[in-house]
C-alpha cells in the first residue's frame, strides 16, 4: 500500500494545475463557452503540447505510457476548473476502446493523431431505451459488399458533435439485451447516412444524438465479442469522472469555506455559527470519503479479475456519487441566494456533478448491482 505520487506524476499534476490556473478561470471559461463548439480549440492545443492528449497511450503512438493514476491527476484538475473540452470522450473513452480493441494499423493511425490534437473521438454506445444497461444494444451491424453497415440511433454521446471519428456499438447477433453478439465499429463522422444533432447538457458540456442509416463502418476488434471491451471503456470513464468529481468537490468546498468567512449576517461572518461549521466539517468528511472512492476506481481500472474490478468500480461510483451530491447540495445551501445564480460558479460545479451522477449508471443502479452480488 502506497499513496505517494512519483516525481513524474507530481510534475504532471503541477503543470496541469498551473495551466488551468493561468488559462481556465471562471471568466475565461465563459469566453470558451461562446465558441460554437462549446469548448476551446486553443486549450486543446495546449493539452496536446503538454502531452495530455496522449497521456495513457504507448510511446510508439506518441504517448507517455501513463496509467489510470496519471489520468486521475489530470481529470481532478479538469474537475476543479470545469474544463469543457472533449478529453473524456476522446482520450479516456475513445482512447481506451482503441487501446483494447484496435488493430495495430488502427492504433497506428488514430492514437498518434489523437495525441497530437489532430483527431477527436467519441464513444457512441448508449441508446434511449437502454438507460444504464450496458448490453442493451438495438443498433444493428450487417455485412455488406464493402464491409459492414450500421443502422440505428445512439443517445447522449459525449462530445459526439465535435468528434472526427466515432466508436459505435452495434448488434451483430442475438437479442436486444444479450451480452454476446455486440460489436464495436469505427465510423467517420462525416460518413454518408450519419446524422448528428448536437446540444448542451445541463453542465454546458456538449453531447449529440446520432442517427445511423446504412452507414459504412469498420470493425474495431472482433464483431460480436465487444461487450468486455465496452465494459472496460465504461469503467475507465467511471474512474475518470470520479477524479473530476473530486476536483469539483474541492472547488465547491473551498469556495463555500471562503464564503462562510466573508459573508456577514447578524453582524458576524456566517462561519462563526456552529451549525455552519459542522456542515462544512461534514462536507469535508464526505469529500475525503469520495476521494478515497475515486482513488479506488482509478486503481481498479487495471485490475485483471473482472468481477473484482466491476465490484470496486460500482462501489466507487456509489461512494463518490453520494459524496458529490451531498457536497454540491450543501454548497448551494450555505451560499444562500447567490448559489442559485447563473453568474456564480457554485451552480456550475453543482451541475457538473449532476451530469456525472447520471452517467454510466447512477447511485441506485450501481447499488442494485452490488446488492445482486451480496452473498
Amino acid at each position: 500500500m502506497d499513496f505517494d505520487l512519483s516525481d513524474d506524476q507530481r510534475l504532471l499534476a503541477d503543470s496541469v494545475t498551473r495551466l488551468m490556473a493561468d488559462r481556465y478561470g471562471f471568466e475565461a471559461r465563459k469566453g470558451y463557452l461562446k465558441d460554437p463548439a462549446g469548448w476551446s480549440a486553443a486549450m486543446w492545443g495546449q493539452y496536446a503540447e503538454l502531452g495530455l492528449l496522449g497521456l495513457p497511450f504507448a510511446e510508439e503512438h506518441g504517448g507517455y505510457g501513463g496509467g489510470p493514476v496519471d489520468v486521475m491527476l489530470v481529470m481532478q484538475e479538469f474537475g476543479r476548473a470545469l474544463a469543457l473540452e472533449p478529453y473524456l470522450a476522446t482520450v479516456v473513452l475513445g482512447g481506451t476502446a482503441l487501446q483494447l480493441a484496435g488493430s495495430t494499423a488502427q492504433q497506428g493511425e488514430i492514437l498518434p493523431a489523437v495525441a497530437e490534437g489532430r483527431m477527436k473521438l467519441a464513444f457512441a454506445h448508449g441508446e434511449r431505451e437502454a438507460r444504464y444497461d450496458l448490453p442493451f444494444v438495438r443498433t444493428t451491424a450487417k455485412r455488406s459488399a464493402g464491409g459492414w453497415v450500421l443502422d440505428g440511433a445512439k443517445s447522449v454521446v459525449f462530445h459526439g458533435d465535435s468528434a472526427d471519428r466515432l466508436v459505435v456499438s452495434a448488434r451483430v447477433s442475438g437479442d436486444d439485451a444479450d451480452e454476446d453478439g455486440i460489436g464495436l465499429f469505427l465510423v467517420d463522422a462525416d460518413a454518408a447516412g450519419l446524422a448528428r444533432r448536437g446540444y448542451t447538457l445541463r453542465d454546458e458540456t456538449r453531447a449529440a444524438e446520432i442517427a445511423l442509416h446504412n452507414v459504412a463502418a469498420v470493425p474495431l476488434g472482433e464483431p460480436g465479442a465487444a461487450f468486455p471491451v465496452i465494459t472496460r471503456v465504461v469503467e475507465a470513464g467511471i474512474a475518470a469522472m470520479g477524479a473530476e468529481a473530486v476536483g469539483a468537490m474541492e472547488a465547491m468546498h473551498s469556495m463555500t469555506l471562503e464564503y462562510s468567512r466573508t459573508r456577514e449576517q447578524f453582524g458576524k461572518p456566517i462561519g462563526t455559527n456552529q451549525v455552519v461549521q459542522h456542515r462544512l466539517a461534514e462536507m469535508l468528511m464526505s469529500m475525503e470519503q469520495g476521494r478515497s472512492m475515486a482513488m479506488l476506481a482509478a486503481m481498479s481500472v487495471t485490475e485483471p479479475d473482472a468481477a473484482e474490478r466491476a465490484r470496486n468500480i460500482s462501489m466507487a461510483k456509489v461512494g463518490y456519487g453520494q459524496a458529490a451530491r451531498f457536497v454540491s447540495q450543501q454548497t448551494i445551501q450555505l451560499h444562500g441566494g447567490i448559489g442559485m445564480t447563473e453568474e456564480y460558479a457554485a451552480g456550475h460545479f453543482f451541475r457538473r456533478c449532476l451530469v456525472i451522477e447520471h452517467s454510466f449508471g447512477d447511485t441506485a443502479y450501481h447499488l442494485a448491482r452490488l446488492a445482486d452480488e451480496v452473498e
Binding site: F3, Q277, Q289, M315, V318, L367, L370, A371
Partner: protein, 401 residues
C-alpha cells in the same frame, strides 16, 4: 500509488489471521462469535497470549516490548483481531497509559508499570470525566492538595469504564484552583484502586450491562512519586493521550463483524415470502454498508500512511474523520444486525436460555446480543470526544473557522 496490500503486507495479514485462529481459546472464540462482549478473564488471557508472542504493546517502541510494526501493520493487526472476533487489546493500557509513560514518565514509573500494563497484570482505567466536566473536560473539579510527600484527592469521576475491574487509575485532578487558565491548574496522577477512600459505584447502561461506573475519592492519599510530568502540566499529558495514535479508532473490523452477523441472521429468517437475505431492500442496505466500509478503509489507509510520514508527532486532525465516520458505520451496522433479528431482537432471555440449555439456541442468543450491542454502541458517538466535538476539531484545526 497503489491501494493493494504489498506481498509482505498480505503475508503479515495471513500470519496474524493464522495466529488468532490457532491461539484464541475456543470458549472465548465461541462466546464472541455469538456476539457476546468478552469477559474480563477473556481479555486478560488473550492479551497475555498476545504479549507472549510480542504482539500486545503494538504501538510501543521495541525497548518497551513493542513489535516494531509499521502503522500499516498495526492497522492490519487491529482489524483482523476485531473481525475474528477476538477480545481487543485493553486500550487503557496499550494506547493510553503506555504511550503516556513512555513520553512523560520517570524511569522508575516506566520500569514499574510498562511491563505489567503490556501483560495486563495491571488493569488500568481512565479517571477523566466528571459529573460537571464531560466534553468540557478542563472544567474538572476533583481536587488534589499536596500534604508532605502525598497528594490528598477529593472529588468524583463518572463514566469510568471498567473501574470495577481496574487495579490502577490514571486520574486528572486540579492542583491549582487559582491558575490564570483552567488548563494550567491540572495534574496527572496514577492511583492504586485499592487505596483507602476510593468507592466504585456501578452504573448500569441501557444494554443491561455493568461497564460504566462512578468513582468517589474521599481523602485518598497518592504519593507524589505517582504524579506523571510536572505539577499543573497534566493537561499537556491529557492532550497527548487523547491525540495519541488513533489507528483503529474507526473500528472497521468490528463493523465488518457486525455486517457478517446481520447476513448470517438474514439467512435464517423469512421476509415477505422468501428468506430475508433474498430481499432486495435488505441486500441494498448491506451493499450500502459495504460501500461505506470500503470508503472508510481507504480513508483510514490514507490517514495512517500520511501519519507514518509525519515527524512532528502531532495527531492528524483528519483522524476526527475516522472517528465520526467509523462510529456512524458502527452504529449503522449494529442497527442492521439487530433489525435482521426481527422479533427475536426483543427478548432478554439469556438466563432462560441457559436454564433450558440442553441444546443451546444459538440464533436466539446471537439475536439478544445483537440488540445489546446496538444499545451499547449508541455510546460510540459520545465517548472519546463526541462526534459534535470531533466536528468542532475539524472546523478549527482543518478548516480554521
Amino acid at each position: 500509488m497503489d491501494l493493494r496490500f504489498t506481498q509482505e503486507e498480505r503475508a503479515f495479514r495471513d500470519e496474524v489471521r493464522a495466529f488468532i485462529r490457532d491461539n484464541l481459546p475456543p470458549d472465548t472464540a465461541e462466546r464472541m462469535r455469538l456476539g457476546h462482549p468478552p469477559r474480563k478473564q477473556d481479555t486478560v488471557t488473550w492479551q497475555r497470549i498476545l504479549n507472549k508472542k510480542g504482539w500486545a504493546a503494538i504501538s510501543w517502541p521495541k525497548e518497551w516490548g513493542g513489535p516494531g510494526w509499521s502503522a500499516v501493520q498495526r492497522m492490519i493487526f487491529i482489524e483482523e483481531n476485531q473481525a475474528a472476533p477476538a477480545p481487543e487489546l485493553l486500550s487503557f493500557n496499550i494506547t493510553m497509559i503506555g504511550p503516556v509513560l513512555i513520553q512523560f514518565g520517570t524511569e522508575e514509573q516506566k520500569r514499574r508499570f510498562l511491563p505489567r500494563a503490556a501483560n495486563l497484570d495491571d488493569w488500568w482505567c481512565q479517571g477523566f470525566s466528571e459529573p460537571g466536566a464531560g466534553s468540557d473536560l478542563a472544567s474538572l473539579k476533583t481536587a488534589a492538595r499536596l500534604v508532605g510527600d502525598h497528594y490528598v484527592v477529593n472529588g468524583s469521576k463518572i463514566w469510568t469504564s471498567t473501574a470495577h475491574n481496574a487495579d490502577w487509575c490514571f486520574l486528572l485532578v486540579r492542583t491549582n484552583p487559582n491558575a490564570a487558565k483552567r488548563q494550567e491548574g491540572i495534574s496527572f496522577l496514577l492511583v492504586d484502586m485499592k487505596t483507602p477512600g476510593i468507592t466504585v459505584r456501578p452504573i448500569i447502561s441501557i444494554d443491561g450491562s455493568h461497564h460504566l461506573n462512578e468513582v468517589f475519592f474521599d481523602d485518598v492519599k497518592v504519593p507524589v512519586a505517582m504524579r506523571v510530568y510536572e505539577e499543573n502540566r497534566g493537561w499537556d499529558v491529557a492532550k497527548y493521550l487523547l491525540g495519541n495514535e488513533r489507528t483503529g479508532i474507526a473500528r472497521l473490523g468490528k463493523s465488518r463483524e457486525r455486517v457478517a452477523m446481520a447476513k448470517s441472521a438474514a439467512r435464517e429468517v423469512r421476509f415477505n415470502g422468501r428468506r430475508l437475505i433474498e430481499d432486495p431492500a435488505f441486500r441494498q442496505r448491506i451493499a450500502q454498508l459495504e460501500v461505506d466500509m470500503k470508503a472508510l478503509q481507504i480513508t483510514q489507509y490514507r490517514v495512517v500512511s500520511a501519519g507514518a510520514k509525519k515527524s512532528d508527532g502531532r495527531p492528524d486532525p483528519l483522524s476526527s474523520v475516522l472517528k465520526v465516520k467509523g462510529t456512524e458505520l458502527l452504529q449503522a451496522s449494529t442497527e442492521c444486525a439487530m433489525d435482521a433479528a426481527g422479533p427475536m431482537a426483543n427478548p432478554v432471555w439469556a438466563q432462560e436460555l441457559a436454564a433450558m440449555a440442553n441444546e443451546p439456541d444459538l440464533f436466539a442468543e446471537a439475536s439478544e446480543q445483537s440488540t445489546a450491542s446496538y444499545l451499547m454502541l449508541r455510546a460510540a458517538s459520545i465517548y472519546g470526544g463526541t462526534n459534535e466535538i470531533q466536528k468542532n476539531i475539524l472546523s478549527k484545526a482543518v478548516l480554521r473557522l
